[in-house]
Amino acid sequence: MEREVSDPFQPDREAEHQMKQITVLSGKGGTGKTTITASFAVLAKNAIIADCDVDAPDLHMLLHPQIMETNKFKGSKSAVIDEAKCTKCGLCREKCRFDAITENFQVAPLACEGCGVCTIVCPASAVTLTERISGHAYISKTKYGLMAHAMLSPGESNSGKLVTLVRQNAKILAEKENADFIIIDGSPGIGCPVIASVTGVDVGLAVTEPTMSGIHDLERALQLLKHFNVPPIVCINMYDINRDNTEEIIRFCEKSGVQVAGKIPFNPIVTEAMVEGKPVQEYALGSDVAQEIGAVWKSILSVLGI
């Protein structure tokens, strides 16, 4: 389905006052992004939810979306060699910078980036590029609001482009529904899918944990937000597994002028809720974890001036 969409990264002036985009990111994996995003989905009354972790999406296991619309994602192309025309001259192998052409002139699909260099260097015109379906994007209904999500086919590249598609879908939904928020669950790391998840949003919540790795990765995640001019806010998950490190994170954030919006304690109830397939905010509303996530949400609202 072809649709005219506005660039999601250039907030248009009119919509800017109404709809706010929040991205939950972390740098390090497994710090609790999805747990927190799912709880935000419960807390935000009028939000669109976007799962932008497209190669290992987990949010659907807590929000149980019912898919209403599926779109094929043709994010990449692949070279195809016509064996009848191929003279095995080797020019394609020589010029391919991705080692995607094997010794017996087959295209290695996972290595091919679909650049097309082989098609222009082949003297026998034996190579063509074909579009391949490298994933699916979904628009779904959940009991907490509409959700845009996707699944990259295992092993595919171009996850950044699929993230962009998810965000476009979320933006269309937000406009249609007159939503107040788009809540975006990011993927770990700081590379292309994460960049595509944070550009142009109103606030980036960096979720960290008090470990050496957590601290190291938080620093890089905050640098990323700064690089793309996204206002940052931090929350420390499982803060009580190492209180000294928690103090260090707080000092580091103070020094960098970044607000620490909350300290979420370690509590096995988070895993219990996950096993039950429910957001903590619903499964254990009275728990210390749910209360602290509620406080983080309030801090985000105040950063957004709401």
Partner: protein
């Protein structure tokens, strides 16, 4: 032998397994291929003796020769070039460095120039050699750095590759060419879901694999059921223990403080060797 450590879900303990495995072996090389968020060096604290910049080639337009025909932009699959009547714009962060634009330009107006996207570091930690990469913050493409890290592979050693999370291109680049892959998961619905995706990838790539269950005791039993149904061997279980979590939080590989684990990691490696010669 080259053993890669991957997961699918982030934060399941890849680096913990990679580091403790490296410490249990001799004549070993650990390559941290998570160049977006490298962490192995935080635990191993290596003495770094070599830093190499990693550059990619991006196009530079020689306006003197350019007649704005637009063939380069038309060719570029990544929209990294934009040609107007007066000017050609290059967007380095979109460029995949394929070199095609320089080949297609009929006026030879495009040359390639180096653009640094990160670095690799080579160091020594005890008996282990550590190689790790760092992607410059704001640069989108980790793969060229992973390739540079992997160029340091010394086949005469026991090689351990620590992969980034997920199942997309950086993971493929890391595990490609390894003799065996250890998938680290946790016994939770998220862990299982992402494990299944990772298994799918490895089966496609025809890389033999086994599972390590970290934080055993939390969550549910579904990961065990899945491994049984799929005939996937569970090669090691690391229990959920406050002590292990605390040591990790302080950046200490737990087998250093809990020496009984050193033997378990040695056994793990022997098991992999046996699986692999089957």
């Amino acid at each position: 032998m080259i053993v890669s450590i991957a997961s699918g879900k982030g934060g399941t303990g890849k680096t913990t397994v990679a580091v403790n495995l490296a410490l249990a072996l001799s004549h070993v090389q650990l390559l941290d291929c998570d160049v977006e968020e490298p962490n192995a060096h935080l635990l191993l604290k290596p003495k770094v003796n070599q830093v190499k910049p990693v550059c990619v080639s991006i196009p530079r337009i020689n306006e003197e020769f350019c007649n704005h025909c637009g063939k380069c932009a038309e060719f570029c699959e990544y929209n990294a070039l934009f040609v107007s009547a007066e000017k050609v714009l290059v967007f380095p962060e979109l460029c995949h460095n394929c070199g095609g634009c320089a080949i297609i330009c009929p006026n030879h107006a495009i040359v390639e120039e180096k653009h640094q996207i990160g670095r690799i570091k080579i160091g020594i930690a005890g008996k282990a050699e550590l190689v790790y990469g760092e992607l410059e913050v704001g640069e989108p493409m980790p793969v060229p750095i992973i390739r540079e890290v992997k160029k340091q592979i010394d086949r005469s050693k026991n090689v351990i590759l620590d992969s980034p999370p997920g199942t997309s291109c950086p993971v493929i680049e890391t595990v490609r060419g390894s003799d065996f892959c250890l998938l680290v998961t946790e016994p939770t619905p998220f862990g299982l879901h992402d494990l299944k995706i990772a298994v799918h990838v490895l089966k496609n790539m025809k890389i033999p694999f086994g599972v390590v269950i970290n934080r055993a005791g939390v969550g549910d039993k579904k990961v065990y059921e899945y491994c049984k149904e799929e005939h996937t061997p569970i090669l090691l279980e690391i229990p959920f223990q406050r002590r292990i979590a605390e040591l990790y939080s302080r950046g200490i590989p737990f087998s250093q403080e809990m020496p009984e684990w050193k033997e378990k990691f040695q056994t793990l490696f022997n098991q992999i060797e046996r699986q692999n010669t089957k």
